[in-house]
């Protein structure tokens, strides 16, 4: 290296050396300053921990989830908190932002458990992040109640510390396939004549939903005429929709979280796609009715929960009352997404388990969690051996005249299916 002309200075030899040493000492100090170790209980507050998607591609869902957690915490604290061993405790949550990145979720959970000393975890948003979280809590033997990871991969590995309040992903669109078969028969055709077009996001959850759809279709021997993946940023599916127009399927199935639903609804309207039956996940989270009005009519939207269902519990009352309370507490929701409801339910499960275990010991609480069997405004919650909720069904709603109406399964249906879909573009 060559340098410009500059006068030579003499300095004590110590300065630049100690500078480097100081940098390293500073590194150590920075580490210590960067995270005070907490305890699972602080005074009379039990601390739950959560790595959630507050930024990144899942952030809108992540915020819905956080709102759900917070509303339930607030409600429980208002109603006297949690009673363990004769003492009353409040609940509180420590949140970290995993930026919708599974690698970060795993890191942050390690931090929550090792550095912050948290012993009770609320799950992250989405299947990929929960799939990253599950082995971590399993290794540390810290129970996690999760509300947003529906992928089957979470429940076939023998995990003992992961409990999911939601129905698993392969059930999402099962009733839509069943409906398609019914409709075909009503019209004098065979279910195996049904032609299905599929457009799915390329992630763990959506591919799981697709796997469920494929399985269900195989039962009826239906035909797949289109099987496309969405681009990773979920911004434009017009090429696939153009193919749909040319191929004229009987059923169009789309899944791509909130973003995918928005893009799909928009471009279906733009390209004036006409298919007799269209099923799409995440309609509520994507606010398709608000954004697309009448053109969103006819969509079949599976949901984990609906405010019109007749569930209820002692904390929130009925599903409708939860719906009302949520809208009052948080701005900007004309429909309460099921992600929020199941998040609240997860907190209720924690409260119930802590009280039944009557102990703060994570192992005892874990055993209490495994024995959960409770009614909530969100639905019945009972965990199988594998940790998923086997007592609550997915429900299929159709957008009719700007409202979500339950059309399947027939036990819960309040309205008839409108078929074929009359597109109002």
């Amino acid at each position: 290296m060559t340098y410009r002309k500059e006068s030579v200075r003499t300095h004590s030899a110590i300065l630049p050396r100690t500078f480097s040493g100081l940098v390293l000492a500073g590194a150590a100090a920075g580490m210590i300053a960067a995270g005070p170790a907490g305890a699972k209980v602080e005074g009379d507050t039990i601390i739950l921990g959560s790595a959630n998607s507050l930024t990144g591609k899942y952030s809108s869902n992540g915020i819905d989830t956080q709102n759900g957690y917070d509303l339930a915490i607030k409600k429980i604290n208002e109603m006297g908190g949690v009673t363990v061993g004769g003492k009353q405790y409040k609940l509180a949550v420590t949140y970290y932002d995993d930026e919708s990145t599974p690698a970060r979720t795993a890191q942050l959970l390690e931090r929550l458990i090792e550095q912050d000393g948290v012993q009770y975890i609320l799950g992250p948003y989405s299947s990929p992040t929960t799939i990253a979280a599950a082995p971590v809590v399993e290794k540390y033997k810290v129970p996690m109640v999760e509300a947003e990871g529906a992928s089957r991969a979470l429940f076939n590995k023998g995990y003992k510390y992961t409990f999911a309040v939601l129905s698993t992903s392969e059930q999402y669109l099962a009733s839509a396939i069943g409906l398609a078969a019914e409709v075909a028969e009503k019209n004098g055709k065979k279910p195996s004549d049904v032609r299905v077009a599929m457009i799915f996001e390329n992630d763990a959850f959506s591919q799981d939903v697709r796997a469920g759809v494929v399985e269900d279709m195989a039962k009826y021997d239906m035909q797949v005429i289109l099987d496309d993946k969405m681009p990773s940023d979920l911004s434009d599916i017009s090429a696939s929709l153009t193919k749909v127009k040319a191929l004229k399927p009987d059923l169009l199935v789309i899944s791509g979280h909130n973003k995918g639903a928005v893009t799909a609804a928009r471009q279906i309207k733009e390209l004036q796609v006409e298919v007799p039956m269209i099923a799409m996940t995440h309609c509520e989270g994507a606010k398709v009715i608000d954004q697309f009005g009448a053109s969103a009519d006819g969509y079949l939207c599976p949901t984990q929960w609906a405010e019109t269902l007749s569930y209820s519990d002692e904390y929130f009352g009925s599903a409708a009352e939860y719906d009302k309370l949520f809208k009052e507490t948080y701005d900007g929701y004309t429909t309460v997404p099921y992600q929020a409801a199941q998040a609240s339910a997860a907190v209720l499960v924690w409260k119930d388990a802590l009280e039944r275990a009557n102990s703060l010991d994570p192992q005892k609480v874990r055993d209490a969690l495994a024995a959960t069997d409770m009614q909530t405004f969100y639905g019945q919650i009972k965990f199988s051996e594998a940790g998923n909720n086997i007592a609550k069904p997915m429900v299929l709603r159709q957008i009719q005249n700007g409202e979500y109406n339950v059309v399947a399964p027939s036990k819960w249906a309040s309205h008839e299916l409108v078929w074929p879909r009359e597109a109002m573009y």
């Binding site: 290296m1 060559t2 340098y3 410009r4 002309k5 500059e6 006068s7 030579v8 200075r9 003499t10 300095h11 030899a13 300065l15 630049p16 050396r17 500078f19 480097s20 040493g21 940098v23 390293l24 500073g26 590194a27 150590a28 920075g30 580490m31 210590i32 300053a33 960067a34 995270g35 507050l54 930024t55 932002d97 919708s100 990145t101 599974p102 690698a103 795993a106 890191q107 390690e110 931090r111 090792e114 550095q115 990929p128 799939i131 990253a132 971590v136 290794k139 992928s151 089957r152 991969a153 076939n156 590995k157 996001e201 390329n202 992630d203 763990a204 591919q207 796997a211 993946k229 990773s232």
Partner: protein
């Protein structure tokens, strides 16, 4: 100058007035005093014991140092600023994953289960596969570097930078479409056979060793003729070529070295995280791919310790802002980048070398030479 870059006897200016006798002085040799090394290695060894809860975070620090050091080979020392070095990190990760899975089972059925299948190994199998996977990843990345380098080193300046960024971004997208390696869902890695804290310490040690190896190797490399050659390429490539330096070969070797270490670090990282996913884990091109550049710039590119200091500082700032400035962390980082690049491009080491040149073996001579220019001495 003898063939091993040493002088014997006196050097005008530097040794004026001193009795040197016959002394070998290597140009570009590292002149850091021994106690700095003791400090750093000491910290590295005892950190997981005094800060057990931060083990993984400090392991990340070593990874960051490796990132910055490897970037600097081509960036600071050779003048070819690559924005896509993260490609080798991800490539190494994928290669290792495929090899590790492939030793025990069929890759296609494993990945199509999308995390449904799990590979549970015992200690011997796990570490054997890790070792083999890392080795193959290193070799594979060197091959990739040579192939891609042949194509891209013809580009200059910003085109090279954008081209390499393009490689990293393209790899990111394409890996997500390749079903054999799991597509968008990625690959679930074999489960670590042991307790979580043990796992943290083991991977900490591996990263520490990798970073130390990289540093020691580069320390040696920069003191050889190769180091001088790549500096020459940086300073004026046409002249270097005219002087007989085979620039393409040097460029390829430089990038291959970076690829070698990056590939290994990627392989290990995939195992530590537990799964390999194209967008955020393997090829974080718009984040860590750029961070490695910022770290080297912050500390002072073209120096040996610069990337280390820059990486350390950057890592601390990042961790602290992530906790205390939640919501604003990226804005803070963006500001840091802008301020650093625009106002402080010489970096910390550059600044230190300007303030105290003698401590770094640089002689700045006030005397002018016969043609009116300034006489300048050898540098570190």
């Amino acid at each position: 100058m003898t063939s091993d870059n040493t002088f014997s006897g006196e050097v005008a200016g530097r040794d004026a007035g001193r009795d040197t006798g016959d002394r070998k002085i290597a140009i570009n040799a590292d002149r850091t005093p021994w106690y700095i090394y003791v400090l750093v290695i000491g910290f590295g060894l005892i950190a997981p014991f005094i800060f057990p809860a931060y083990t993984t975070q400090i392991a990340f620090l070593w990874l960051m140092i490796l990132f910055a050091l490897t970037w600097d080979i081509c960036g600071g020392q050779m003048g070819y600023n690559s924005l896509g070095n993260i490609f080798f990190f991800g490539a190494g990760m994928y290669i290792s994953a495929v090899v590790q899975i492939g030793i025990f089972t069929d890759v296609r059925t494993y990945t199509s289960a999308r995390g449904g299948e799990q590979l549970v190994l015992d200690n011997a199998d796990y570490f054997f596969s890790l070792f083999v996977g890392t080795g193959v990843a290193a070799v594979g990345c060197v091959v990739l570097a040579i192939i891609l380098g042949r194509i891209f080193f013809g580009l200059r300046g910003p085109y090279f930078a954008i081209g390499t960024l393009g490689i990293a971004l393209a790899a990111r997208e394409l890996a997500g479409t390749w079903e054999w390696v799991g597509g968008g869902s990625g690959i679930a890695m074999p489960v670590y056979p042991g307790q979580p804290h043990e796992k943290s310490v083991v991977f900490y040690i591996i990263f520490l060793v990798l970073a130390a190896l990289t540093f020691v190797f580069l320390r040696w490399l920069y003191s050889t003729r190769f180091g001088l050659a790549i500096n020459a390429i940086r300073d004026d490539e046409e002249k270097a070529e005219a002087m007989g330096i085979h620039t393409l070969r040097h460029k390829l070797i430089g990038w291959s070295i970076a690829a070698f270490f990056l590939g290994m670090s990627g392989a290990v990282f995939g195992n530590m995280t537990g799964f390999v996913e194209p967008l955020e884990v393997a090829f974080p091109a718009a984040t860590f791919g750029i961070f490695m550049v910022v770290m080297a710039l912050l500390g002072g590119k073209g120096t040996l310790w610069g990337p280390v200091i820059g990486a350390t500082l950057f890592h601390i700032v990042k961790e602290v802002t992530w906790i205390y400035l939640l919501g604003w962390q990226w804005v803070a980082l963006g500001l840091l980048i802008v301020v650093n690049v625009v106002f402080f491009q010489e970096g910390i080491m550059g600044w230190m070398q300007r303030r105290w040149p003698e401590r770094f073996g640089i002689t700045v001579d006030d005397r002018t030479t016969a043609d009116g220019g300034v006489k300048q001495g050898a540098s570190s």
